[in-house]
């Protein structure tokens, strides 16, 4: 297992406080309890929100209608919670990797909440902890407790326990 400072163009944090975890499948049990992140900042734009509304067909005016959103408690359009949640992948890639896994599966989620609204143009970043590690046929399951920090907000944009499965060989048992 390798714990290294995560580097990107945003140098506001001392590098030592940023943890990028990487491990092989053989090292998977060592990940238990380890923390990772924060990732680099990641912008969610109105274009992203509009595109997500298109793909998901969720055109709730709180996301896509400026006038409606301006009159709401949020004051401006906000991102779909599931858009924020789904942005885990590029952020997670920066700070958590299983180097020799050939297949990664989103097996599910446990409690997910969206405590603070993400307004168009806001920046988020990801940090997390490996909450559980379990051997499953052909691979490993980890529950990653993720917190999506929102810039200039005490409350996070999202907290979620993500159940991920990693496989070494492309042999996912039928019983998944």
């Amino acid at each position: 297992m390798n714990i290294s400072p995560f580097r990107d163009d945003d140098r506001e944090l001392p590098e030592v406080s940023r943890r990028a975890l990487s491990a092989t499948m053989a090292q998977f049990p060592l990940l238990l309890g380890e923390t990772f992140g924060p990732s680099g900042w990641h912008v969610i734009s109105q274009q992203d929100i509009d595109d997500f509304a298109g793909v998901s067909q969720d055109d709730n005016p709180i996301h896509v209608n400026k006038e409606f959103a301006a009159a709401s408690t949020y004051g401006q359009p906000i991102a779909h919670g599931l858009l924020t949640l789904a942005r885990m992948v590029p952020m997670l890639r920066q700070v958590f990797s299983i180097t020799d896994a050939t297949l990664r599966i989103n097996y599910g989620l446990d409690r997910v909440r969206f405590p603070a609204a993400v307004r168009a143009g806001d920046r988020i970043r990801l940090r997390g902890e490996v909450k559980t590690v379990t051997e499953v046929p052909g691979g490993w399951q980890a529950v990653l407790s993720l917190a999506y920090e929102l810039e200039n907000s005490v409350k996070p944009a999202c907290v979620a326990d993500w159940v991920a499965r990693y496989y070494l060989e492309a042999q996912v048992p039928d019983s998944r």
């Binding site: 992203d48 595109d51 997500f52 298109g54 793909v55 998901s56 067909q57 969720d58 709730n60 709180i62 709401s72 408690t73 779909h80 919670g81 599931l82 858009l83 949640l85 789904a86 942005r87 992948v89 590029p90 297949l103 990664r104 599966i105 989103n106 097996y107 599910g108 989620l109 446990d110 409690r111 997910v112 909440r113 969206f114 979620a160 159940v163 492309a170 042999q171 996912v172 998944r176």
Partner: protein
């Protein structure tokens, strides 16, 4: 107006929604183009979703939808089967347990059915915990089971 598969509530009627079941919705396809767009939008280009050749050699035999795409498609399905009129703002407040027991092959069709598990009066609105089961056409187990926490404000 309700038929045997869809339910509709005026805002104040949400107080009595507990236990109500709805669906199944109509079958709706999940085309590869939608999967590609979701991959671009989320930055999740896992080859199992977007690489035809690699996915063909995988245990799934074909490209599959992102679990979170399936989950996101709850909205058009609910628009058909679970309607709330007269609320001001409604938001997705969170999710409880979510599992993806089976994959959604690219190009297959899915539908949903659901049940309102719990209603909480928030004073200025209602919080509903709604259990939704997603099935794929021809499948023998659900592709997603999820508990959504929705909030409807006056």
């Amino acid at each position: 107006m309700s038929d045997d598969r869809s339910v509709a509530f005026a805002f104040d009627e949400l107080a009595h929604a507990e236990g109500v079941t709805f669906g199944p919705s109509s079958w709706r396809p999940v085309p590869q183009q939608q999967i590609d767009e979701f991959a671009d939008l989320t930055g999740d280009h896992n080859p199992i979703h977007v690489d035809e050749d690699l996915a063909a050699a995988s245990p799934f035999g074909t490209r599959i939808a992102h679990g979170l795409l399936t989950l996101s498609l709850v909205v058009p399905h609910l628009k058909e089967t679970f309607k709330v009129t007269g609320s001001g703002t409604n938001v997705n407040y969170g999710l409880n347990r979510v599992r993806f027991p089976a994959p959604v092959p690219s190009g297959s069709r899915i539908r949903t059915s659901g049940r309102v598990l719990e209603v909480t009066d928030l004073g200025n609105g209602y919080q509903l915990v709604v259990a939704v089961t997603f099935e794929v056409e021809g499948g023998n187990k659900p592709v997603c089971v999820a508990e959504f926490v929705f909030r409807y404000y006056a």
